[in-house]
């Protein structure tokens, strides 16, 4: 995360203050008041106890539920809470004792360091807390796309392990302070500090036991350290003077903003009446272009990887990711084309997520193309940047991989969110198609709610796009791990969040379809161009549509001849076969003889 403060910054800061005494071997100067130090240690312990409560309650997002069996980690959480409580109680010195130790001077060593550590820890906790918020009814809920990961069992374990580790450091400091001859204090504070130190070590043992049962993976600790605050970087547009490094940072910032907007649209979906075809179309276009730009960037990375890792996996993996990005582009293009057949009663307005996706397409394009003034509306003919410019050194491969990974990572949730919006609009009767015949026009309106089969086709295209995006994201995750890209935390976060949540949409397997006549012919000719294949598919579908429309037309001469014998040639038979295998309810009409028109009874004389 370019330039963003993370939780690890504060944890490291706290550790730095805690280690500056004991680890440095500095001998206390003497004469300092042990009770000052004791009170400061207690303040650290109270912050640690609040962390432990966060761990126990999932940052307040869920209440305790009775469990059949406590895991080692559940036991560790309970032990940590208990021991921190005991330690804090030991250090709760009575105000009266302060006056009974005249002649001492305020602690400038232990207490000062403890106070600074407590301050860092408090700020770190506030950072994690930014991912949650209070609902109007007082309950706690998630406030960012990271929240599910932060509240996940694995991240909470990682946090508990860090709490225990910090507690050990505090215990080390306390032990040294208590044993140092230069310190002044009555027996009470000295004993209290000893007892508190003992509690801190006991809780460490409990967490160690849990670790022996189920180790916290290093990747989860890394994710905890890399966790940013929920506050997003400000929206900005690329400048003409931005160099490659700034453009990379801009892509990542924009991807984070887009990711948040999509997440928000998922947790608080807009009313179906707010869905506009304008927004759906624009999102699809931006997803096409973002995929396209990522493909260009990955191609450059693949060229360089082939030089730096000629026989190793990263080179092949990046090459495979180029193809996966191309498939994602094609699948989003299919969504965009499908959307061109629909409209909505309300048009013009676009969602926050679509506006952010506009920015991401712009940033990725500015990075992919040489022209420093490139925009989405610049028009034709722009040269992609060379691999030499984009990836001048080996160290730049993880950087460009991280950039693409962040951009690609939004495409699957975008497809899911847009799918849900389109489905909601269709369910509400607001996804419209032109009324093309009196037969279709039961209503008196020039536009009519889209028929179910066409809505199903559209939703299927979204599902295909989501699957393609999931595939390229998985490819990027593998590459990020193999080249040690900083973006590998995205993979960990997704895995952690996935363990604790259910997908809001269940991806149906894309409709299986027998290739049509033209598609088969194109394949037989050895054509591999996705564009040409897509055109062949479109023409096959149009042929099927024509036969269905013709069969349903009143006054046609169709007499119910079995569909297989409708065509005298293999070509028409193939079209009819595909219709029969489709989910189109009108296909059944091809198999049923039309009932002869009932003759009117002759009027009796």
């Amino acid at each position: 995360m370019p330039g963003r403060v993370t939780f690890g910054d504060f944890l490291d800061g706290a550790r730095g203050h805690l280690s500056s005494g004991a680890s440095s071997g500095r001998v206390p100067t003497g004469g300092e008041d042990l009770r000052d130090g004791g009170r400061a240690v207690r303040r650290v312990i109270l912050v640690l106890a609040r962390y432990a409560q966060d761990v126990a309650s999932g940052f307040g997002t869920w209440s305790d539920e009775p469990r059949r069996q406590l895991s080692a980690w559940d036991q560790a959480v309970a032990d940590v809470l208990d021991e921190l409580d005991h330690a804090a109680r030991h250090l709760k010195l009575s105000p009266a004792s302060i006056r009974t130790n005249p002649g001492t001077r305020p602690s400038s060593g232990l207490a000062s360091r403890m106070d600074q550590a407590a301050s860092q820890l408090r700020t770190g906790r506030e950072l994690l807390d930014t991912h949650f918020e209070s609902a109007p009814d007082g309950t706690r809920r998630q406030h960012s796309e990271w929240a599910a990961a932060v509240a996940s069992p694995t991240l909470r374990r990682a946090l508990l392990a860090e709490i225990a580790s910090v507690a050990q450091q505090v215990a080390d400091e306390v032990d040294q302070a208590v044993e140092s001859p230069g310190w002044r204090g009555t027996l009470g504070p000295r004993r209290a500090l000893n007892a508190a130190s003992h509690c801190l070590r006991v809780l460490g043992d409990s967490v160690l036991t849990a670790q022996e049962h189920e180790l916290v993976p290093a990747s989860h600790r890394d994710l905890l350290y890399d966790m940013p605050a929920s506050i997003l970087p400000p929206r900005r547009l690329p400048g003409h003077e931005d160099d490659i490094a700034r453009l990379r940072d801009g892509v990542i910032d924009s991807a984070q903003r887009t990711s948040r907007a999509i997440w928000q649209s998922t947790v608080e979906p807009a009313s179906p009446s707010a869905v506009t075809i304008t927004s759906l179309r624009q999102m699809a276009s931006y997803a096409v272009l973002t995929s396209h730009h990522c493909e260009i960037l990955l191609r450059a990375a693949a060229d360089k990887a082939a030089i730096y890792f000629p026989t190793q996996d990263p080179s092949h993996a990046i090459g495979a990711a180029v193809d996966a990005a191309a498939r994602t582009r094609e699948s989003w293009l299919a969504v965009a084309r499908a959307l061109s057949h629909f409209t909505t009663d309300k048009r013009g307005e676009v969602t926050h997520a679509t506006r952010e996706a506009d920015g991401l397409a712009m940033w990725t394009g500015r990075l992919a193309y040489e022209d420093p003034e490139w925009t989405l509306t610049s028009g034709p003919a722009h040269e992609p940047r060379s691999a030499r410019t984009l990836v001048p050194a080996l160290a730049d491969i993880p950087r460009i991989v991280a950039t693409v990974h962040h951009a690609i990572d939004i495409l699957e949730p975008a497809a899911d969110a847009e799918h849900d919006q389109a489905r909601a609009a269709a369910k509400d009767g607001r996804l419209l198609v032109p009324t093309v015949s009196q037969r279709q026009a039961d209503s008196t309106q020039p536009l009519t709610p889209a028929p179910d089969d066409r809505v199903a086709d559209l939703l299927n295209e979204y599902q295909v796009a989501a699957q393609a995006a999931a595939d390229v994201t998985a490819a990027m995750s593998g590459i990020a791990a193999s080249v040690a890209s900083p973006s590998r935390v995205l993979t960990t976060a997704r895995a952690a969040a996935g363990a604790g949540r259910q997908r809001h949409t269940v991806r149906a397997k894309p409709e299986t379809r027998r290739p049509g006549l033209l598609e088969t012919s194109v394949h037989d000719l050895g054509v591999t161009s996705p564009w040409l294949v897509q055109r062949a598919v479109a023409l096959d579908r149009a042929s099927e549509q024509l036969i269905l429309d013709a069969a349903a037309e009143p006054g046609t001469g169709y007499d119910g001849t079995p569909a297989e014998t409708l065509g005298q040639s293999a070509s028409t038979a193939a079209v009819v076969r595909n219709i029969l295998e489709s989910a189109d309810p009108r296909a059944a009409a091809l198999l049923q003889p039309r009932r002869p028109q009932q003759e009117l009874p002759e009027r009796e004389p």
Partner: protein, 141 residues
């Protein structure tokens, strides 16, 4: 005569408001089909064609909502998917679409000035705006 040129001619020749609105709708449909036919990633026009398709569909939609447009149109429901490119190269297609946009901008401007109904005027203005964007995208920004 290509379907794009033919659509431009129909739009110029339309005698009355309903006919002109229907011709404009047809022109946007033809434009959309042509644009989608040329969305090839290797083409230098790829970004322009991807962006232009959405605006062409927006223009078509504006015409669909014009109250004086006659309906049902009798046109097939999915014309864009049903035909290949009318022009021989992406550059020629872009040029033809730009020419059609010029006709649309001019004709829709006239209709917006003369239509009696508010909603017809608004629809023409909205569609003309879409045509201008498509023209600018494909003409080079």
């Amino acid at each position: 005569m290509s379907s794009i040129t033919d659509a431009a001619r129909q739009l110029r020749d339309a005698a009355d408001l309903p006919g002109a609105l229907q011709a404009a709708r047809h022109a946007f449909e033809e434009m959309l089909a042509e644009i989608q036919s040329w969305q090839e990633p290797d083409s230098p026009l790829f970004t322009a064609f991807v962006m232009a398709a959405g605006y062409a569909a927006d223009g078509r939609d504006a015409m669909l909502f014009a109250p004086s447009r006659p309906w049902p149109s009798g046109q097939p429901g999915q014309p864009a998917a049903a035909r290949g490119p009318a022009e021989e190269t992406a550059e020629q297609a872009a040029g033809a679409v730009v020419g059609l946009c010029d006709v649309l901008v001019s004709r829709l401007g006239q209709l917006a000035a003369s239509a009696a109904g508010h909603d017809d005027r608004e629809a023409c203005l909205e569609a003309a705006k879409s045509a201008r964007v498509v023209r600018d995208l494909l003409a080079g920004g």
